[in-house]
Amino acid sequence: MSDAGHSATHKDYTGAKLGMWLFLFTEVILFGGLFVLYAVYLDRYPSEFGSAAQELNLWLGTANTVILLTGSLLVAVSVSAIRRGSRGLAQWMLWGAVFTGAFFLFNKYLEWSKEIGHGIYPNSPVLLRKEHGEVIFFGLYYITLGLHGLHVLVGSVLLAVMAIWVRTGRINREDFVTLENSGLYWHLVDLVWIFIFPLYYLLL
């Protein structure tokens, strides 16, 4: 793919970005469905949801919130950096963001191994002995946070690819919409967690 002078293929910067935003809206509806379920069952089982939430690790949840927010900062900076021609800074920021994704998933592994170790997982005998509302809470917990974790993994891989493309020059100060779009995906992952965190970890 030659970048000498004029690009051979026509690129539509606005179209590319709009396409990504439209995809993100479908993701909002996807997670939105899980949040609708949460809302209905929270209304139906407020105290069971509250007591189930005590099982979760508030410190790891808060740490993960800070981690993802920092990842978003790094990604945002990387876009401004490439637009200024700071290829080195852009790569550092992107690899930093990849690291935040890995750190998040590691924390998730710590949390889930402890919870599963306590016998709390979908359809477990321990879980089924709890109140019905608690069973629902944990069902939603594993599905929603699992789907979100998958998105963190995908986002991290995407950002790593972007970092490599910055190095090879495939992403540069003239043509950076792919990086912007990957950044948008990452920020969406952050947005979903911004809602997951208080709804699952901060209930009393």
Partner: protein, 94 residues
């Protein structure tokens, strides 16, 4: 690239937004430890919405995009609100 994008956003704006986000995170944790009954969930959602606005408008550049993009976001949010709202219209009266 024939179209002109908005000028690259200064790094310090992102850092300021990040500090605000961390502050709001600390706030939401602190407020959640106080028993406010039903007010707790609304406070949490309110702060989360504020954090989202910061991420969407600054990190995702929506503040600097043309009106068209902002309109699309509004449509998406109204759609989601409708889903949730109409669901409760049903569920609350069973």
């Amino acid at each position: 690239m024939t179209e002109q994008a908005h000028a690259p956003i200064p790094y310090r704006i992102f850092v300021v937004v990040w500090v605000l986000l961390l502050t709001l995170t600390a706030t939401t944790v602190a407020v959640s430890r106080i028993h406010l009954g039903p007010l707790n969930i609304w406070a949490a959602l309110g702060i989360a919405s504020l954090k989202s606005a910061l991420v969407i408008f600054f990190f995702m550049h929506l503040k600097y995009e043309r009106l068209f993009f902002k309109l699309f976001l509004l449509i998406a949010l109204v759609t989601l609100a409708t889903f949730i709202g109409l669901t409760f219209f049903d569920v609350l009266y069973r």
